[in-house]
């Protein structure tokens, strides 16, 4: 075991989870301290990732655990979003009276699960990571346990997720049965496309993964769970598990099964088109902002999958690029959502935004930028994300996918415009509280500025991502 230093981040985060749990029991009066410590330990984890040269490519534990540029990048993305979730949650949790020590610990363990998922190069390791993150997420969804909706969300997520995990596990066993191994590299050597069992295995695993990123037709849980969970947990749901699941998607499809691309490409294209269209159309009628975000994230996952379906390095890079920008936009959107607070009560209906521009000009300006960016209007960051995805699609002559995708952005533009209309054109309502904590303000300013000014130097992020080469 000479390469243990490569998994220092995972070791560190596991140790800090245990430490924080114990500390939490002794420091019952002073949760704030423990809470802040959890943020610091996440920062420490990020630093530890840089402990080894970021471009090393190494595998551990009989090649079942892989550290490469892709995994490091995705881990950093995951942890950064985890940090932002923790930073903006504290006030919300206190006001909802659920400021408990379990919250940061659960988030940390879920992140640990995702890190394992991201690095996995073996079906079993992947499954362990998936279950660890899911278990933490079940509890997080029902964290506001005195509220009916929250418990309902947790239960729903648990039942459906368990079902999908079962399907996924069945797929794993099929693949093991037909290829004789669970390791991605060995599978890729043993592969023989005439074996139908393998194809079934791929399909089952894809179903399980599609459930995790809520792609149509496996999206049914998303609106209810998003609506019922506490808002900060919704934010976590909307961003973080998707990064991890996308990484597994990439590794699973492009390492063992790249040669059987003709068998899975159509499935991904279908998932992508269905998600883009359904997400856009279904969001039009929503009145609850969290449900609306759920549908909008479904359609955004469609665009991410569109990049993935191309079967090229450019496609993968465009997907990763898309999800990074998506993360940024959702960070801003949820920060805005958490600012809609009046007399210690949070508002989350679309109508509550009515006339926001009168009383809160800066907040509405940020929302304006974020929403237009989500709709993909240039010169905002969201445009570049879509641009790269469709560029990758056109390069593979997938014109149908590109045209359907861009037409669905027009449909999606309608409901984003509707929110903007409500903010800017409709009569005003009462003022909201302005005593937001500094973390919330920082994350909103940070994301808005990046979205607005992204066009000044758009190749910076692309350069970082273009080092990811899987094939």
């Amino acid at each position: 075991m000479d390469n243990t230093n490569l998994i220092y981040p995972e070791i560190f985060i596991s140790l800090s989870i245990m430490f924080l749990l114990i500390l939490g029991i002794f420091k019952k009066k002073n949760f704030n301290f423990v809470y802040n410590l959890s943020i610091i330990s996440l920062v420490g984890t990020v630093i530890l990732i840089f402990n080894h040269p970021i471009e090393t490519e190494m595998s551990l534990f009989n090649k079942s655990y892989i550290i490469d540029y892709l995994s490091s990048f995705m881990k950093i993305l995951t942890i950064l979003s985890g940090i932002f979730v923790l930073i903006i949650s504290s006030k919300y949790l206190k006001l909802c009276k659920i400021f408990q020590i379990e919250y940061p610990v659960l988030i940390l363990s879920s992140i640990l699960g995702m890190m394992v998922m991201i690095s996995s190069n073996d079906l079993i390791v992947f499954y362990i990571g998936l279950e660890l993150q899911s278990l933490a997420l079940y509890v997080l969804a029902s964290f506001n346990r005195d509220q009916l909706k929250s418990t309902e969300a947790g239960l729903k997520y648990f039942v459906l997720s368990a079902l999908s995990s079962g399907v996924l596990l069945y797929g794993c066993s099929l693949i093991y049965g037909f290829s004789g191994s669970t390791n991605f590299i060995i599978i890729s050597n043993a592969i023989n496309s005439s074996q139908y069992g393998l194809t079934f295995g791929i399909v089952f695993i894809l179903v399980g993964l599609a459930f995790k990123i809520s792609a149509v037709p496996f999206h049914m849980w998303a609106p209810d769970v998003y609506e019922g969970s506490p808002t900060t947990v919704t934010m976590f749901f909307a961003i973080v598990p998707k990064i991890a699941a996308l990484t597994v998607f990439i590794r699973f499809l492009y390492v063992p099964f790249i040669n059987t691309i003709d068998q899975w490409q159509m499935i991904i294209v279908f998932l992508s088109i269905a998600s883009m269209i359904f997400g856009s159309v279904a969001a039009i009628g929503q009145t609850n902002l969290k449900r609306l975000i759920a549908y909008s994230s479904i359609s955004h996952m469609g665009y991410t999958l569109a990049g993935l379906s191309t079967g090229t390095n450019e496609g993968i890079q465009s997907s990763i690029f898309y999800i990074s920008i998506y993360l940024l936009m959702n960070l801003g959107l949820f920060s805005c959502l958490l600012m809609l607070k009046r007399n210690n009560q949070y508002y989350e209906s679309v109508e509550d935004l009515s006339g926001l521009s009168k009383n809160h000009p800066i907040l509405s300006l940020s929302l304006l930028a974020i929403l237009f960016s989500l709709a993909g209007i240039p010169p905002l960051a969201g445009f570049f994300a879509k641009f790269y995805v469709f560029k990758a699609a056109v390069e593979q002559s997938m014109y149908f996918l590109a045209i359907v995708g861009l037409l669905s952005t027009v449909i999606a533009a309608f409901y984003y415009l509707r929110i903007i209309k409500i903010i800017y054109f409709d009569p005003e309502k009462e003022k909201y509280d302005t005593d937001n904590n500094i973390g919330l303000k920082i994350s909103l300013t940070f994301s808005t500025l990046l979205i607005l000014l992204y066009f000044i130097s758009p190749s910076r992020l692309v350069e970082i991502i273009s080092k990811i080469n899987i094939i």
């Binding site: 209007i377 469709f390 861009l406 415009l417 903007i420 054109f425 190749s459």
Partner: protein
């Protein structure tokens, strides 16, 4: 490295907008201060544009003042530059914007500062459209303009503003996304999106037709050509005066410019193939929308429909691909920019006083507002293309160019000139002559100083270019000539290519 004069033209209004955005309300307590800031920025921009015209060398068709910076690495460069065709549009943009800002007197009651910010950002983006030499940069500016215009119509518009704003936004977006796919495809086919390089490389003939249609979908909506024009009357009627002016004077010209620069320049063989389609749609636009304009009760709607008819002439002239036709189209675009801006401002003048745009509210205004009637007469005559106004020069050249190409088309198109005279003069008669029945009209004052300044400064160039169009023609002549030469050369090469491939 020379001073980046084009970038500063784009950036100056945006910097002005940022200044307004971050200035505290207390400093701008005097409502007028923010207006002066905006006016100063846009006027400075106009001066720079005029200076640019002086520096401009009209004896060559090469792109000048080129700025080329790496932007998306190895893929898209930030490349801007101008030739004889674009410089006129830049001057038009910088000329109209300060007038718009002056006209914002009492019409905008709420959030004046935000309105000015939107207008300034709009100006920057529109200048960007006219000088971008890369398809992706062009698309960026072209689409970016949707955001401020959506807000201008939606926040400061009339009763049905929400409907109109949505229609405007979604219509244009739908047209444009197809163009985006075409742009990406061009990159995939030719390996670059740099317009100058693409002119030389020529785009493979087998893709041209589809790409042309994709670009057409965007430009046809923006022009607007019949049958894609229905967003325009709605948008115009509901937009505040300044918004209508920007929309008619400059936004519509982006499509005409796009037709010349991209449709003709990049896809000669497809342009040749689709010319009958464009002719047909243009003729329908000219005749049909003129007839529709005759029946309008609402002044703004009438002028909006007349815009569609005028744009029909412009597309007709462009696709004749003759020296006169294209020159005529460009001059007609400039002239229409001035005239339609003036007419919308004129409607704004009486709307402000009477709060009605219906024609039958008025009648006999000539005795109440003599100065106003004189100016309105000039603009009416320019709109119907009377010799001595810039409208005549443009229309005449277009018809002359079309005559060389197709006799039947020119006969039908000439009918449009008569119809234009009919609806414009009838409008004038109903508003200014006849008995003064509405007693409220007696109380309204004639033009105030700022209105006089705006309207006279619009009417002078209209008359000047009507008598002496040499200034404009000199600027565009060489560029247009070389464009046509390149078009014919590329066309022949493409035809050869097809023959060789059987």
């Amino acid at each position: 490295m020379n001073f980046p004069i084009l970038s500063s033209l784009i950036l100056l209004p945006i910097i002005g907008a940022l200044f307004l955005l971050f200035s505290k309300d207390s400093i701008l307590k005097n409502y007028q201060t923010s207006k002066y800031v905006a006016l100063f920025t846009s006027f400075a921009n106009f001066i720079i544009a005029i200076y640019l015209w002086f520096l401009f060398d009209s004896s060559t068709s090469d792109f000048q003042f080129i700025e080329d910076k790496e932007w998306l690495k190895g893929f898209v460069n930030y490349k801007i530059g101008i030739d004889g065709i674009s410089i006129l549009f830049i001057i038009l943009t910088t000329f109209i914007t300060p007038l718009c800002i002056i006209s914002v007197n009492n019409t905008i009651k709420k959030k004046l500062k935000d309105f000015l910010i939107a207008i300034l950002i709009m100006e920057g983006l529109m200048i960007g459209v006219f000088c971008s030499l890369d398809l992706v940069i062009f698309y960026l500016f072209f689409e970016g303009g949707l955001i401020p215009m959506f807000l201008i119509i939606g926040i400061w518009g009339g009763e049905r503003r929400v409907y109109s704003a949505f229609k405007f936004f979604l219509y244009t977006l739908l047209g444009s996304v197809l163009m985006l796919i075409a742009i990406i495809s061009i990159y995939w086919i030719s390996g670059t999106t740099d317009v100058i390089q693409l002119y030389e490389l020529r785009i493979d003939t087998k893709y041209q037709n589809l790409l042309w249609l994709a670009f057409f979908s965007s430009f046809a909506v923006k022009t607007p050509m019949w049958p894609f024009h229905t967003w325009l009357p709605d948008a115009h009627v509901e937009a505040p005066t300044a918004g209508s002016v920007l929309l008619a004077a400059i936004l519509l010209k982006m499509a005409g410019y796009g037709f010349i620069r991209f449709s003709l320049g990049l896809f000669p063989i497809a342009s040749e193939l689709f010319t009958p389609l464009v002719y047909g749609l243009s003729l329908i636009a000219i005749i049909y929308t003129s007839l529709v304009a005759l029946m309008q009760e609402d002044m703004k709607k009438l002028i909006a429909y007349s815009s569609v008819a005028h744009m029909g002439f412009i597309t007709l002239g462009i696709f004749t691909v003759t020296q006169q036709g294209i020159e005529g189209s460009i001059i007609q675009m400039i002239s229409h920019g001035l005239v339609s801006a003036a007419l919308f401002l004129c409607v704004g003048v009486i709307y402000e006083r009477m709060h009605s745009r219906l024609i039958n509210t008025y009648g006999g205004l000539v005795s109440v507002m003599p100065k106003y009637s004189v100016l309105f007469m000039i603009f009416t005559l320019a709109a119907l293309g009377l010799p001595g106004t810039s409208g005549f020069v443009g229309e005449f050249l277009i018809l002359m160019g079309t005559f060389q190409d197709n006799f039947f088309v020119v006969t039908v198109a000439s009918l449009g000139v008569i119809l234009a005279a009919a609806y414009m003069l009838w409008l004038y008669r109903r508003i200014f002559f006849g008995k003064l029945i509405n007693q409220k009209l007696l109380k309204i004052p004639d033009l105030n100083n700022s209105e006089i300044i705006i309207l006279w400064s619009l009417s002078l160039p209209i008359l000047f270019f009507g008598f002496y169009p040499e200034v404009l023609i000199n600027t565009i002549e060489v560029s247009v000539k070389d464009l046509i030469e390149m078009y014919n050369y590329n066309l022949n090469m493409n035809i050869l290519e097809i023959k060789n491939n059987g």
